[in-house]
């Protein structure tokens, strides 16, 4: 029989205001096994933990139930406290009387009754708990960073600087990401390439960093400390070891009609290409869909002109299998498709563009060589209209429900840059709210208004009409003047919502990392563990976790790196002892459990057993504790009930059911 102590937390008034904690203490004392019960203001505080330790010593407790907040919050705290007092940490159970009780109920009597029942269930479970010992697993001292934008580069640099090997997997032909497409950055207006390129070079030159560009993660198996990842290196058709990056192939390539991804399709590129001049690695790839050699078999110009003999039309995709201890996701974002927003005439006029497209137009290496001009006729614009919140803050299923966070600032930046360079251009911004929380952000926006004379109008645009003369008629409202405004513009720029790079879904599935309804990866805790995924060993860097600007991305990248370093610095990891275990005498050896195990943790052994005097050799399931993650799929598949899950055993769960239904 266990000797159980029950500790009821007030959580200040969070619990005590709705649950009569004294009553709970009184009621649980009647439960079997309970030899001690007390309440306290804050059980998780040092004084509270001391009370638990004292009771363990004084009453010789063998099990503990803490009635408090969610076990997701403080289970670890109380387990550690129990362990310090000499109790096996797995003899602790939590009754969640805050999130699942006091916070959602109003009636004190009802909430108290429920709290008692939840406590009873936990007590019934503890009665059947057994001490568990965590196992150990090794840590592969190498990290994988998925995505080679600024987030991925920064994370990789930080991990590498700490002395660990890092691989970056980037699906496009070059690292650099979205930041490489930007012209200037807010709120300092320094050139994006000037600050990014050195980091790209540093990453490429770092002896601890290996970069796989034009590559994708294909398969992930294993678990924290010991992931095995298949990386598909897509065929570049260029031998990276031979290529000197001279660029002659791109010049001579006769097929130059492919839309340039880097320039957002605003101009074209050759079939053999590097996305931009500062690309790393400076090794082109052949776009086989655009290449004449691949399409018709005739051409081969690049092969002829390449003095290094680097062109290799026979190159095949290659699968590289690597082991990693930690994985950082840094897959970044894209702008949403505007197909659902007919009213802004984006698909009708070349002069309605997204902000990211404007970045390319403003950039000296962009499609217009940095000259602000209409893409329809190349004319210099005189009236420009910016529309904010296109697809952001929408709850109508056309766009995204969240605020994309960066648009207010980059629009102020664009407006300012245009007014600075072309004082003859009038700039009007239609906004709903201007959101500028950030260091020097509001000052920046005010400068746009006060010093650069940008015309900010509070009100959304309802429609953009393409007039026969090629001009754009913008119909918006001015809510402060209570007027409807019709404005003729030469160019309209849409502050298009950003969304997580769509391929993140498959990556999340491979990593079994959870993802929210907007495809942003979920944090382990929204406030306290914002750079960790709930899946152990997987960390989050940059916009894949939520909208953020460059400084925030870099900060988070560093934080993710630190978390990864913390993991890689360990030689061994304690494994979760709540693993499956087969009862040798009951096991049929039928393989049903192995069929459902997602980790391949179950194997079979021919083993001699002594079944109540019958000695025979039987085929018996054996669980590898390092591989087993404790999901319990096998326990239900097992026909004989031989397979059970430690810490969540059949009898424990049934005891909880019984206690609740009593």
């Amino acid at each position: 029989m266990q000797r159980i102590g029950v500790f009821v937390c007030h959580c200040g008034s969070n619990i005590a205001a709705t649950v009569d904690v004294k009553k709970v203490v009184e009621m649980v004392q009647m439960e079997p096994g309970v030899v001690h019960a007390e309440d306290y203001q804050y059980m998780c505080s040092e004084a509270g933990q001391a009370k638990i330790a004292a009771a363990i010593h004084e009453k010789n407790l063998t099990g503990i139930v803490v009635c408090s907040c969610s076990p997701r919050m403080h289970e670890n705290t109380f387990r550690t406290a129990a362990q310090r007092a000499g109790l096996n940490p797995y003899m602790v159970e939590i009754a969640n009387i805050r999130e699942h009780c006091s916070w959602i109920h109003k009636d004190m009597e009802e909430a108290t009754k429920k709290a008692v029942i939840l406590a009873r269930a936990a007590i019934a479970k503890v009665n059947l708990n057994t001490p568990l010992q965590p196992g150990e697993s090794r840590v592969t001292k190498r990290a994988l960073v998925i995505g080679g934008g600024i987030a991925g580069i920064q994370t990789a640099l930080d991990i590498a600087d700490a002395g660990y090997e890092v691989d970056i997997v980037e699906k496009t032909p070059s690292i650099g990401g979205r930041m490489s497409q930007l012209d200037k950055t807010f709120p300092t207006l320094d050139c994006s390439a000037c600050i990014l390129t050195p980091k790209m070079v540093e990453a490429a030159a770092h002896e601890k960093i290996k970069i796989y560009t034009y590559s994708e993660v294909e398969k992930v198996s294993g678990f924290v400390g010991d992931f095995t990842v298949d990386i598909r290196k897509k065929a570049r058709s260029v031998d990276a070891n031979k290529c000197t990056g001279c660029g002659v192939c791109q010049e001579k390539c006769p097929s130059k009609k492919a839309p340039s991804e880097f320039n957002r399709g605003l101009n074209t590129r050759s079939a053999i290409y590097t996305p931009f001049a500062q690309a790393i690695p400076n090794v082109p790839v052949i776009d086989r869909d655009a290449c004449l050699k691949f399409k018709t078999g005739k051409c081969g110009v690049c092969e002829k002109v390449c003095q290094a003999g680097a062109i290799d039309y026979t190159q095949q995709d290659e699968i590289v299998t690597e082991k990693y201890g930690a994985i950082v996701v840094a897959t970044g974002f894209d702008t949403i498709k505007l197909d659902n927003y007919d009213e802004y005439a984006y698909n009708q006029s070349k002069d309605v563009i997204t902000s990211l497209e404007l970045e390319r137009i403003m950039n000296a290496a962009g499609p217009t060589k940095g000259h602000l001009e209409r893409l329809s006729d190349g004319k210099h614009p005189h009236e420009m209209v910016f529309i904010q919140c296109v697809g952001s803050r929408c709850s109508d299923n056309r766009g995204k429900s969240y605020c994309s966070k960066i648009c207010c600032m980059y629009t102020a930046k664009h407006a300012m840059l245009i007014r600075d360079k072309y004082p003859d251009v009038n700039v009007t911004v239609f906004y709903i709210d201007v959101r500028t929380p950030g260091k020097n952000f509001d000052e920046f926006y005010r400068r746009a208004v006060e010093e650069y004379g940008v015309n900010y109008i509070k009100g959304q645009v309802g429609k953009v009409i393409l007039k026969p003369n090629g001009k754009l008629l913008v119909q918006g409202s001015d809510l402060l003047d209570n007027k409807q405004i019709l404005k003729e513009a030469d160019m309209v720029v849409l502050a298009t919502a950003i969304e997580p790079e769509p391929s993140v879904r498959q990556i999340a599935t491979m990593l079994t990392a959870s993802i929210d309804t907007n495809n942003f990866l979920t944090e382990a805790h929204p406030k306290l563990r914002p750079v960790e995924s709930p899946t152990a060993g997987v960390f989050l860097s940059g916009v894949c976790q939520g909208p953020k600007d460059i400084p925030e991305t870099v900060a988070q990248a560093g934080a993710a790196a630190v978390k990864a370093i913390g993991l890689l610095a360990k030689d061994k990891l304690m494994t979760n002892p709540c693993t499956a275990k087969a009862d040798e005498l009951m096991c049929n050896g039928c393989s049903t459990c192995a069929n459902v195990c997602p980790y391949g943790a179950i194997s079979y052994e021919e083993k001699e057993v002594n079944d109540h005097g019958i000695r025979e050799t039987r085929r018996i399931a054996v669980v590898n504790n390092a591989l087993c993650q404790g999901c319990g799929a096998c326990t239900v598949a097992c026909p004989s009930g031989s397979m059970d899950l430690q810490g969540f055993s059949n009898r424990q769960i049934i005891a909880e059911v019984d206690a609740i239904c009593r």
Binding site: C389, C394, D396, Q460, K463, G476
Partner: protein, 129 residues
């Protein structure tokens, strides 16, 4: 006061719209073809219902100037759909006045073949259901 509240509830019920979702972006007013004819603007409609000021709505010109083109309903990013609110307010007024409109069977003979379908439907929405 309580009856105004009651009426506001009725409007929400008829329209199936929650005016609290409005973020006051003004896209409705930006989209409205009858904006200049209206005394209470489409975006203001939402706050009138929110504030329970149904009396003013019922007496407004806007109620009868709205073309029911539903551009605001289509474009509202928050699914507040001011057009539906206007529609509902109009319903409320029509119901209070009693059966003063046309009956459906009276319509065919009044029809002008040149009349656009949309106008017909719009008229129905406004005057009789």
């Amino acid at each position: 006061m309580s009856s105004a509240k009651n009426q506001a509830e009725k409007i929400k019920e008829i329209s199936g719209v929650n005016p609290l979702k409005c973020m006051k972006c003004g896209k409705c007013s930006a989209s409205c073809p009858a904006f200049n004819e209206m005394d209470i603007k489409p975006h203001q409609f939402v706050s009138y219902v929110q504030n329970g000021d149904i009396e003013a709505l019922a007496n407004s010109k806007s109620l009868w100037k709205c073309l029911s083109c539903f551009a605001c309903v289509e474009r509202c990013p928050r699914d507040v759909q001011p057009g539906k609110l206007i529609d509902a307010a109009r319903q409320l007024v029509v119901r209070q006045k009693g059966q003063t409109g046309l009956a459906p069977e009276e319509i065919p003979e009044l029809l002008d073949p040149e009349l656009p379908q949309q106008l017909l439907v719009s008229a129905f929405r406004r005057y009789r259901r």
